[in-house]
Symmetry: C2
């Protein structure tokens, strides 16, 4: 508890654990707020809390997940992420090694994404009043001139593109949490997507909508886009790439892969004339090599997402009532 | 748990509880990130987690505390707070009424401070893995041209000003947590300080350093300033206003009021020639009516804060090892 009291132990934690990991002059100033220079214009600002259990899973930790997640939320506005903050709620008794490992993972993810963690906060709660570690990241980035990407900008006729196979993050966390083996090891797809987004926008500014299908999966993202833009979306289910191991794990667990969380994928609605160029740009990027067309935006049934199933039928995708995978991010 | 799964129940929580409270067009767009326009220049960016226990205490709730706390952290750079985000980690079983009350308190605090809550996130953890509610707010504001306020800018000769009496927040939380009565009711001083800061900077741009003495209290803030600026600070202990009820409570509990948290106070280091004007501006502001001189910055003993005691001796104020009041904010 002493490490959360704002005294010497708090200062030690910051000086010896967080500063060396995140080290940059802005954070090191230890002011109440970080002061950074930005150009005028539009900023994309986002926050996300991470309560994933366990803290370490195949392919990542809560730390890189927290950095990549907020980087991606910012990128989904077409912005270039620049500055992040990190808030930690630590349960008394969390090993300092674990906290150090998470901080290192955050620092590595920030370096990889080209963002700086310039502000932070640490709180400690009594044993039994938390669950090891919760991390909340916030951040902002600059939206380039001419870029206008938002959930409500999807238009009938738009082509729906997906950047790669779905379900890896959710299944990776679930497999280690439940001690399941799915034959081959499934790793989380956690990755920063702003480079892929920049490549897409370089190919065309007619990218209307971007969303990273995290909690709730691809289906939930599509439903949210349909609702925001008051359009229909027609998904061709068999065109959605699902890795064999994810399909097997989902079958075993009774999960629908369309609702399983991803942390390194995006779905886009792109003007039809631009779709080929944007798809080519995605495939030329390491995080979009398996990009594909999965459906179209339509003016029928606004607010509703339909999926043409593998056997030729059609089902309606809706928001699930609750969670199928709690604490997945 | 269903309310945290990203499905229908999550959407309901956002649509029916948070949106009506925080209602603004940017948040209502429900994009992954909020897009806001800012002028070019310097931004102050800050984050703070709130784990205060209990969630409701005399004079405030975790909600207004979380808004005012981040507003104040931004204001301590001389910036005008503009946009906030709010992340919630909710323990399964928290009454929706409590969450609603906190959201309303946040909305009211944001209105009072003239800031917009434009981004948010909600996570739910299992019963026994949290403690009702943790809130992390982040935010940014614009630093006006010509304003340069930072912990390392305090200079020997600077006058140290305090905006009002200390110890109210810490004692208010402690009294209700421990079921103590201190004769009269002590209320938290939680308040947004950016208006007071703006009044001070209008009086003079020679305000060098601002800090709000929250966790760790006034003593910790002064030690942090002394360390950052590599200067000494000489505090005149009897010039620090301590309300009678706080003094009595601290005596009873064995606490030092200089280390008790405040949530609506600031301490400033101001160039000597500007001190009278800045002090007058503080006293003319509702949140600085009891502002006073409490000491001076010196070039002796850099990094060390001394306090001249009421009986004429001198003691050294240092960071406390751990916490005297856990989970006070």
């Amino acid at each position: 508890m002493g490490h959360g009291g704002g005294g010497r132990l708090s200062a030690d934690l910051i000086e010896h654990l967080f500063l060396p990991a995140f080290g940059n002059g802005t954070l090191a100033a230890l002011a109440d707020a970080a002061v950074v220079a930005v150009p005028g214009g539009r900023l994309a600002f986002s926050t996300d809390g991470y309560v994933v259990h366990p803290l370490v899973f195949p392919g990542g930790t809560i730390g890189d997940l927290a950095v990549n997640g907020t980087v991606n939320d910012i990128a989904m506005s077409g912005a270039r992420p620049a500055f992040l903050s990190a808030g930690f709620v630590i349960e008394e008794g969390l090993p300092l090694e674990t906290l150090g490992l998470v901080a290192e993972a955050m620092a590595a993810a920030a370096r990889a994404a080209g963002v700086e963690i310039v502000a932070g906060d640490t709180k400690v709660v009594d044993q039994g009043k938390g669950d090891g570690l919760f991390v909340t990241t916030s951040g902002f980035g600059v939206v380039p001139e001419g870029v206008h990407v938002a959930p409500n900008l999807a238009r009938p006729g738009d082509v729906v593109l997906l950047s790669g196979p779905v379900g890896l993050h959710g299944l990776a966390v679930l497999s280690v949490r439940e001690g399941l083996e799915f034959g081959s090891l499934i790793e989380s797809d956690t990755a920063p997507l702003h480079g892929l987004v920049a490549a897409m926008l370089d190919a065309s500014l007619d990218v209307h909508t971007l969303r990273d299908p995290t909690r709730g999966g691809l289906a939930t993202s599509l439903v949210e886009i349909a609702a925001a833009a008051e359009v229909g979306i027609e998904l061709v289910e068999r065109d959605v790439p699902v890795p064999d191991a994810v399909a097997a794990g989902c079958a075993f667990l009774g999960l629908d892969p369309l609702y399983v969380a991803n942390e390194g994928r995006l779905v886009a609605a792109v003007a039809p004339a631009a779709a080929d160029a944007v798809l080519a740009a995605m495939r030329a990027h390491p995080l979009g090599r398996e990009a594909c067309v999965i459906g179209a935006v339509v003016d029928d049934h606004p607010g509703i997402v339909t999926a043409r199933t593998g056997i030729g039928g059609t089902r309606i995708l809706d928001l699930q009532i609750g969670e199928q995978l709690p604490r997945i991010c």
